[in-house]
């Protein structure tokens, strides 16, 4: 009897201790732990001080975040001014993309940002678990000096999936002209010509149709994917630097033979006759977005991360188009192995005196239950609890769009990590993401053989070289590509072009990328 009693007593004591430990994992409410945090507000975000998710997290962790809300438009100037002056810094910067990777390494290397490695090991169990399950995340956020200066934002759903850019074509026009969705480049030419010569949208004007458009900038609207029909797909998406990796070797696409052939062919067969819109080179973003929004559709085909980018009003007329076979029958589309990882979410500055509690707060966002609510809205408002461990999206109220409903209530794209398994078990992807995921899996992934250079951090010295040499090379390259596509002439100028790239330091540039890749992914 006594033994039983003492057993019960010990167990109770242990239980109380366990509970007590759990309870004082977080600071006590009376301690009034609070941090000054600069938070970047996107145009559609509501008031951060009112957001439910932050209140829920504060309830649980007893950590209060004193937000200074800075508009996205003002963010970069203000943050850089403060960090460059180095005085009176806030405790932390909070937002997806709060700094770009160059800034991260530069400021981190100078000691303006705290190195988080040890804290992650000791105080961030959730995040640590994620890192163990997904080592590519660790590779993406570790600077060459071995330090981790930021907590990332990871989301592996269809939207930020592996294929940044897709092609879309107007099915209604195709049907009207009795044509099939093209599968080869020759068929594309035929189709685009037909688009140009006919009054496809039925408004009586033969000339208002633009067979194919694009936007010349480092984004998913660019036509870099077409280059895959001649060799490597050109990488303008990640880091805008034209690098791809082939079996461990880093290749600079604009110096390859395939690139030359692509420029020649595209000019000869498409740009010369206006099948691809020349204005793509000069349009500003607003003008580009305004295309195709009128009463009738006037764009035949375009590139984007999702169908409604230019479709929107006429979305139903468009379908996705699989990568086309080039003149020699082959094709290649680009994919990103590390897409969905944005290395810089939360950073702590050197003026943060007691980082531990803030990091405990941040760790909570890597617990999927809270990360989900941060990204998709709170259970009860934007999400519905199905009762069986899964959740679904609440109906969007009629007076708002889905995005307004989402961004007004919560703070997506900040710091959390949601991977495919989460979407399969707990919350399905949003509809738009699902659609893109399907397209990617069915049409693009099978032929995505060009691996874009992954998201990696470079050392401060390398960043300087990239800033100088790289900027010159990129500018020269963009200039020549525009010229050759719009006006032709690549065959004649190719040799000189390669020579000039060499004199600008191309080999040194490539070496840096190769070296960084080797360090991160091991040889």
């Amino acid at each position: 009897m006594k033994k039983l009693l003492s057993l019960i007593l010990t167990l109770t004591l242990l239980a109380t201790c366990a509970a007590a430990i759990a309870e004082d994992y977080y600071p006590a409410k009376e301690d009034n732990v609070s941090y000054n945090v600069w938070i970047r507000m996107r145009p559609m975000n509501g008031d951060a001080d009112q957001m439910e998710i932050f209140k829920i997290m504060e309830e649980k962790t007893h950590v209060h975040l004193n937000f200074e809300q800075i508009a996205q438009a003002d963010w970069k100037e203000k943050v850089n001014a403060a960090l460059n002056a180095g005085v009176d810094l806030p405790d932390a910067l909070y937002s997806g993309y709060s700094l770009d990777s160059t800034e991260l390494v530069t400021y981190g290397g100078q000691g303006l940002l705290l190195a988080l490695n040890d804290y992650i090991d000791q105080y961030m169990p959730n995040f640590k678990a994620k890192l163990e399950a997904h080592p590519e995340v660790r590779a993406a956020i570790t600077a060459p000096d071995g330090n981790i200066y930021s907590l990332p934002f990871c989301r592996f759903d269809g939207l930020t999936g592996q294929i940044p850019s897709n092609m879309f074509i107007n099915k209604v026009w195709l049907d009207k002209l009795n044509l099939e969705v093209p599968t080869t480049i020759e068929e594309l030419e035929t189709v685009l010509r037909a688009f140009k010569e006919n009054d496809c949208n039925g408004n009586g004007d033969v000339n208002d149709e633009k067979p194919m458009t694009f936007k010349f900038e480092g984004s998913q609207r660019d036509l870099g994917g077409l280059f895959g029909m001649f060799g490597y797909a050109d990488n303008l998406y990640v880091g805008q630097h034209h690098f791809v990796v082939d079996d461990g070797k880093v290749i600079y696409v604009p110096a390859t033979e395939g690139y030359k052939n692509a420029c020649a062919y595209l000019y000869e067969h498409f740009f010369k006759d206006g099948l691809i819109d020349l204005e793509g080179f000069t349009m500003d973003k607003a003008t580009y977005n305004a295309q195709n929004q009128g009463d009738v559709a006037n764009i035949g085909a375009y590139f984007s991360w999702n169908i409604f980018d230019l479709g929107s009003v006429h979305m139903d007329e468009y379908v996705a188009m699989a990568p086309l076979k080039g003149p020699d029958g082959t094709t290649s589309w680009g994919y990103v192995s590390s897409s969905g990882i944005e290395p810089v979410g939360l950073v702590l500055t050197k003026d943060c005196k007691e980082p531990v509690n803030l990091l405990k707060w941040a760790d909570l966002t890597y617990d999927d239950y809270y990360g989900m609510q941060l990204e998709y809205g709170c259970v009860g408002t934007n999400l519905v609890d199905n009762g069986d461990g899964t959740y679904s999206y609440a109906e969007t109220p009629p007076d708002r769009t889905y995005d307004e409903f989402l961004f007004g209530n919560t703070y997506p794209d900040s710091c959390l990590a949601l991977f495919y398994d989460f979407y399969e078990t707990t919350l399905p992807m949003p509809d738009s993401a699902k659609a893109k995921d399907k397209i990617n899996h069915e049409m693009y992934l099978p032929v995505a053989t060009t691996m874009y250079y992954p998201t990696l951090l470079f050392s401060a010295e390398d960043n300087e070289v990239i800033a100088d040499i790289g900027a010159d090379i990129i500018d020269y390259n963009e200039k020549m590509r525009a010229k050759w596509l719009a006006y032709g002439g690549v065959e004649d100028e190719w040799e000189d072009y390669l020579r000039k790239l060499d004199s600008m330091g191309l080999q040194q540039y490539i070496d840096i990328y190769q070296k960084t890749y080797d360090t991160a992914y091991g040889k």
Partner: protein
Amino acid sequence: MKKAKGVTRSRADKAFDVMDYVLLTIAFLVVAYPLYFVLIASVSDPIAVYEGRVILYPIKPTLEGYSRIFSYESLFTGYKNTLIYTLVGTAINLVLTITAGYALSRKDLVGRNVMMMGVMITMIFSGGMIPNYLLVRSLKLYNTMWALILPGAVSTWNLIVTRTFFQQTIPDELQEAAELDGCGDTAFFLRVVLPLSSSIIAVMVLFYAVSHWNSYYNALLYLSSSSKYPLQLVLRNILIVNTLDDMVNDVATQAAQQRMGDLIKYGMIIVSSLPLLILYPFLQKYFVHGVMIGAIKG
């Protein structure tokens, strides 16, 4: 300008006048059309604007842009703040610039050339953003109105213009006469110079007020409470088209944002510059003619 009695306009004069009218009318049209365009674009369907269909009149007129702009409460705080900053700022600017400009215009001021050199140097050389940022911080001006007003308390450009004005309009003889009469510098300034300075004061008010009204950069750097934001900063943040979220998730948002952003873009110009456009005609009457009548004899 009144014509002298009895003198008829010669043929050369008539020709001049005709040319004057013609040239100014051309100038007027060339300037006015794009302004008119901004006005009609601010109430037209944005797609029509991009398609080039808005030329002489609004297409599918709508006041959505304006109603959206005015639905933001922060707009009114913005107006209020800018009004305060402009009034206080311009007052300080005036006091400093007019007094210093006058002093520097005096030929008998010892050290004058050295000071002008100094002024010139500050106009051309600047230490860059960081020292200024550190200075504002260390003077504890962060998040106060003074961070917007003090760093720009005197514009070298305006100072030089003021000095030139005084040099041109206050003749030496007047000064000498006053000195002989035993009038001190300050008294001379207050009783003689100021009353004659209405046109330079008007110009300075205009230049400084407009500069305060349109400024946003210092506010961006140094203000942390949004309740202190001036108009331009508020407008910048309301305008979403150039910061259009690229990664929006759904169709309707995309279309709605685009449309609203474009409407707002043009409407913003009207909303922010209307008060200034009204200010100028008031100041115009201070550009007085014939200032020095009767002051100098012989």
